[in-house]
């Protein structure tokens, strides 16, 4: 097990270096620099432009900037945002809990609905219920998130007035954030109704963000179940007279869950991409919207360090999933 873990950890190093290269050069390929973008129509004199670039260290050769950046990262310095003049790491972690809260709720919703939907479809393979479930999943998978979010807002918030349009909690609640997770903070605040309000504000964004992962999980569960249901040991279980429910729940599901767990882990990346759009529609104060704005402002350090931090988190989650996978499935760790 230890060898397996070490091997996985060693693999992270090239990935990490790769991400720093992509993150660093990607934003610099885009034309324009932060000084010009900030100046807009007003323009900036060439002398002042050169001076600011020099202050920021952007006048050095690219490779030198890259190695300086790499050195800074290993010292734990992720740079300063050009737009806000605050450290990127501070800006990142002041927004990160909002994204995590939304993503966690979305992945829980997607799993809780997606796995049973997949099982039901697999067990009823070819029947109308299978086709309906998978048809819906296909629609969900193809849904443009931005449009879907606005549609839900217009219907549930605008027309039915069931849910709020945007934000994290009703404005009448006011307390200092402790953890940054609104569900927890609202409980800690002790204010009556705060938790329910936070939950209320979470519903629509969660549904929107969960849509694609839900479809993916449902389809993955179905195909994994179908494969397992055809295995010899399931036939044996059936042959020895176990009730169908027990066969599905005990023998088939446990084995089918292995690829499903991987899929759920892989959805972390999908969630990050979805979060960018979801956060924009719902004015959710997370990192997704912040990153997009920073690209537009050519805020180099925010984009490269933000990407790096997100990549680190995805890599960590994938590592955890791999380890879990090995724990569930001994064949992997003995390979």
């Amino acid at each position: 097990m230890l060898r397996f873990l070490l091997k996985r950890l060693a693999l992270l190093i090239p990935t990490f270096i790769g991400v720093t290269i992509v993150a660093f050069f990607f934003i610099r390929i885009l034309p324009g620099d932060p000084v010009q973008v900030l100046a807009g129509e007003r323009g900036v004199s060439p002398e002042r432009h050169a001076e600011v670039l020099r202050q920021l260290g952007f006048d050095l050769p690219l490779w030198q900037q890259y190695f300086n950046y790499l050195g800074d990262i290993f010292r734990g310095d992720f740079g300063t945002s050009f737009a806000s003049k605050r450290p990127v790491i501070y800006e990142f972690f002041s927004r990160f809990p909002a994204t995590v809260e939304l993503s966690l709720c979305a992945i829980i919703l997607a799993t809780v609905l997606g796995v049973p939907a997949g099982i039901v479809a697999a067990v009823n393979r070819g029947k109308w219920i299978d086709q309906a479930t998978m048809g819906t999943a296909l629609v969900g998978y193809s849904m443009p998130i931005f449009w879907w979010g606005l549609l839900l807002i217009i219907f549930f918030s605008g027309y039915l007035h069931w849910t709020p349009v945007s934000g994290r909690i009703a404005l009448s609640y006011y307390f200092k954030p402790v953890t940054g997770f609104m569900l927890i903070d609202s409980l800690l605040s002790g204010q009556k109704g705060a938790f329910l309000s936070a939950l209320h504000y979470l519903i629509l964004p969660t549904v929107v963000l969960a849509t694609i992962p839900l479809a993916v999980i449902a389809r993955q569960t179905r195909s994994a179940m179908l494969e397992v249901l055809g295995e010899d040991y399931v036939r044996t279980a059936r042959a020895k007279g176990l009730p169908p429910r027990r066969v599905v729940a005990l023998h088939a599901l446990r084995n089918a869950l292995i690829p499903v767990v991987t899929t759920i882990g892989l959805q972390v990346g999908v969630l990050m991409a979805g979060a960018i759009l979801t956060e924009t529609v719902f004015s959710w104060p997370g990192i997704g919207k912040w990153m997009i704005e920073s690209v537009n402002k050519r805020d180099y350090f925010v984009v490269q360090s933000g990407l790096l931090l997100i990549a680190l988190i995805i890599m960590t989650v994938n590592l955890i999933v791999d380890v879990l996978y090995a724990v569930i499935n001994p064949r992997i760790r003995h390979q």
Binding site: K85, S166, P285
Partner: protein, 531 residues
Amino acid sequence: MKLMKTLMTAATLVALLGGSAYAKQLVYCSEGSPEGFDPALWSAGTTFDASSRAVYDRLVDFELGGSAIVPSLAESWDISEDGTQITFHLRKGVKWQTTDYFTPTREFNADDVVWSFQRQADPASPWATYVDGASYQYFDSTGFKAAFKSVEKVDDYTVKFTFNSADSTVFVNFPMDFLSIGSAEYAAQLEAAGNMGQFNTLPVGTGGFQYVDYQTDTVIRYKAHPDHWSGKEKIDDLIFAITKEPAAAQEALKAGQCDVIPYPIPGDVDALSQDPNIVVSQTPGENVGFIAYNTQQAPFDKKEVRQALNMAVNKEAILEGVYAGKAQLAINPLPASSWASDPAGTIGTYDPEAAKKMLADAGVENLSLKLWWMPVARPYNPNGKRMGELLQADWSAIGVNVELVSMDWPVYLEESSKVDRDGAVMIGWGADNADPDNFLGVLLSCAAVGSNNRAQWCNEDYDALIQKAKGTFDQAERAAIYFEAEKIFHEEAPWLLLAHSNQYLAHSKRVLNFKQDPLGFHRFDGVDVAE
């Protein structure tokens, strides 16, 4: 489902009950997060709304809903005979805001004024670079720095400014956000505590609303400054709920979650106006959209060619096709509401036949023109591509071969400024202040060739008039000089003038006395809400 419904009802009920416990509250769904709370460091209107317009006052200010300059922290001022000195007589009894993080021991006085200017003017001041990498952008770049010589305290309630030359465009800087007055006492405390950065995160001013709390990208809370010199504001709690997606802001307004939204989508304005609970207001914007020819490039260096091109454009069609009718066609390079706009200016005539003849008379055949179209929507031009296509059609009709070109916005801005640029460029301008020089000088003077003067147009007569107007302090006299300059502009035709785009704003019916600001600020002084 039942549980969900119960939950929702419960949450709504609690929210309603919670809401009624508050006194007068106004929710403004602002379009973005402020860069910081020290207005002198930043340049975005969003930041000014959240800092200077709410928390701070200035020596003088723009009148509510207009651009005339009215007394504020200064009750009166004198300008010396030669125009190089301005003396302000300060208001007495002005109280600083008392917050969790600062308790003032004295009232506002001349020390605060001197400090607020010195920190920006003096590179040796510890405040010159108190936020890493930030600079006093406006002070450095608007020409105020070049004009400014000194500021001195005459007595506790008199301050004298001295300038390097007589310049009538200097005074209009005083109501601008970067010259907001901060507390010297607060600054000294922060400096002593080694915590100067707080000046940009926890503001203290004399303005109508004081800062309570900001949660990143989410919500800013203010409460009325109880001892404001003009009396306490009628709103008790002012809340900026940051809502970046305009469509979501509109839904929030309809659902009653927002009281005011700053930028309704122009295409939705008509539908919003139908809502019985919503008021949509509009004002002609202090902006201008135009096409700048490169007057140093043959054959566009001939004014006849430029006049002919202008004559070939159907501006009414652009007004409908690009602006959806929500703009005013420009008769001068500056908004028609300005005192310096010559009422004799016209939008020009549309006559393709005459244009064709004029080109032929000028000896120009098979004319080709590159037209740069803007890749982004800006307040003065909502759809650059569409505008480009309309112009292409109009100019093709008189036999001009038009090639549409574009590039990424930051590159566009830089490349289009260059003197050797190939072609005419679509661009525009939004006013910083209401001074005519902000259009006529900044965009068309010889000094701005190679930067903001994208027509690369340097006309000595025009330039002399603009300089003369800068040295003239009498408004009527100054206006007469500008009228003359505008005549030269029309004759020489360095631009194809297009339009001043309207600005829209929507608010709920319960909001009273809200005045839309022509300069694009969102101010809540004087605003009330119905019970």
